[in-house]
């Protein structure tokens, strides 16, 4: 029993699905971004620093980061998802916060909050990673002091192959063991800020998967950086618009 060909036709087992990103897509937000990987699309909007309510959550020493991950009711691969927070979305919100917090410097915002909202209109596995990628771009777009962007992808093992960027079919693979390992990475520090695992995997394979993931993540990092640079690229003044 072996996993010989990827369900969606990708040639390499470490190949990413097509990725694209755009910054500044929600004008009312202080920062925003869209990140798409394969069929998974994540929007992120950042509001802040802004006043934090309820007051008991305020920290006089530093600003706090508050993430909210949510799937739109029609974004699941099957039935409608009941709107509202679920245990799963609350947990994802929390690990997203932990993934992003290390790169942020919020000491100059005592008692304030940086709110990050992640919404997905369409998913095909890897949604929490796509959310983190979008949120990173949005935070940078919002001008929040950041040491680096955070990039994330799900790595793991499908049957006998170490894979990068599992899609829904691979996650749901039934003919053999599957390991789904979402990871988030901070390139400048060479450190991992999100790590979870569903399934079964040996330690040796896990380390291999993470190392492979790190390499592929640099492609995502590049796309994130370009999304920001694109937004601030000089506007080409056309001849009609001279003035």
């Amino acid at each position: 029993m072996a996993y010989t060909k990827r369900f969606d036709g990708r040639k390499g087992f470490d190949e990413l699905r097509p990725i694209s990103a755009k910054a500044g897509i929600i004008p009312r937000a202080h920062g925003s971004a869209m990140f798409q990987i394969g069929k998974t699309i994540a929007y992120a909007a950042v509001y802040g620093p802004r006043e934090l309510h309820p007051k008991f959550m305020q920290n006089p020493k530093t600003g706090i980061l508050r993430c909210n991950y949510n799937m739109m009711p029609f974004s699941g691969s099957g039935e409608r998802v009941r709107p509202g927070p679920s245990r799963r979305s609350k947990e994802i919100s929390m690990v997203t916060e932990n993934a992003l917090r290390p790169v942020l410097d919020l000491k100059e915002f005592p008692n304030a909050v940086i709110d990050v909202f992640i919404e997905l209109p369409q998913t095909d596995a890897g949604s929490r990673c796509a959310g983190i990628c979008a949120a990173s771009i949005a935070l940078a777009d919002a001008g929040v002091p950041m040491k680096d962007l955070v990039c994330a992808v799900a790595v793991g093992k499908v049957d006998d192959k170490i894979v990068v960027d599992l899609n829904y079919d691979e996650e749901a693979y039934e003919k053999g063991p599957v390991a789904d390992v979402p990871m988030a990475y901070i390139p400048s520090a060479d450190k991992i800020s999100l790590l979870q695992m569903d399934g079964e995997i040996s330690k040796k394979d896990l380390i291999k998967a993470l190392e492979t993931g790190k390499k592929r993540l640099m492609d995502i990092y590049e796309v994130q950086r370009n999304a920001l640079k694109e937004k601030y690229k000089p506007i080409e003044l056309d001849n009609n618009n001279q003035g």
Binding site: I26, P27, R28, A29, S32, K39, I41, Y43, A44, A45, Y47, R50, N68, N70, M72, P73, F74, S75, G76, S77, G78, E79, R80, P83, G84, P85, D115, F117, E119, P121, Q122, T123, D124
Partner: protein
């Protein structure tokens, strides 16, 4: 805005100019796109100026209501996502989002847009339920009209998933579309002092005294209506607002045909 600033706004409106240079009866640029969420059975994105909403349709097989055993059911939900405005908070739906959902619902349901009898699979046992969910992406004013248009476009775009009698295979879609009979188009008219405007910006919407949402079918019949705001309207004013709404609905109809 404080009182003096509202006066300043009325002065500008009196000259026929809004703060963004539009005439009182001008819509901002409308851009529509369908099939924007592959996981939905039908979906659409509508942008009016910078306001953006997405609507997605999910079809489920369920038991019909006991008093209508041969009819499919319809449900409209709306979420004013905190993503889309600094004024929206996370949490259970507030009055504003409930009103938005119900106004759109009224427009779709009462216009008899969908032939719910054709959604019956097994009388008294199984019918198709159509769940429309509206999610706001950016609130720059006039979420109502954008949502109503997005819902209608999403429904027009919806196809049935494969159903073998017991289980739905959401991954496989048929080419069969929803049985649509009429297509309602909605425009909300806002009253600002003595002036009537359509498609307000965020600031204008905040200062509006009242609003009237009207949905029309193609033959000019009113199929849904909702008054909002706490300032009462005279019949003459209501008539004026309906006329203005009908004129705008005629223009918007090109997006649904």
């Amino acid at each position: 805005m404080n009182d003096e600033q509202i006066k300043h706004l009325y002065n500008s409106l009196g000259k026929g100019i809004r703060y963004d240079g539009r005439k009182l009866t001008d819509f901002r640029k409308v851009v529509t796109e369908t099939d924007i969420s592959k996981s939905a059975e039908g979906s659409a994105r509508v942008k009016i100026g910078e306001t953006e909403v997405i609507a997605g349709v999910k079809l489920i097989v369920d038991k019909p209501y006991p008093d209508t055993p041969e009819e499919g059911t319809l449900m409209v939900g709306a979420e004013l996502l905190p993503l889309s405005s600094p004024e929206f908070e996370s949490g259970p739906p507030g009055n504003q989002s409930i009103e938005l959902a119900r106004v759109v619902d009224r427009g779709v349901r009462e216009s008899k847009m969908i032939d719910v009898k054709k959604l019956c699979i097994e009388k008294g046992e199984k019918v198709w339920m159509v769940a429309i969910d509206i999610c706001t992406i950016n609130d720059a004013g006039n979420l109502l009209d954008a949502s109503a248009l997005a819902a209608v476009l999403a429904l027009q775009n919806t196809t049935f998933p494969e159903y073998d009698g017991t289980e739905i295979d959401y991954k496989k879609h048929t080419k069969k579309k929803l049985p649509i009979m009429k297509v309602p188009v909605t425009t909300t008219v806002f009253k600002l002092g003595d002036y009537f405007v359509v498609d307000p910006s965020t600031d204008e919407e905040k200062e509006a005294d009242a609003r009237l949402t009207v949905a029309f079918t193609k033959d000019g019949e009113i199929c849904a209506m909702q008054k909002g705001g706490d300032t009462p309207l005279s019949i003459a004013e209501i008539e004026k607002m309906i006329d203005l709404s009908m004129e705008k609905c005629k223009e918007l109809r090109k997006f649904v045909d």
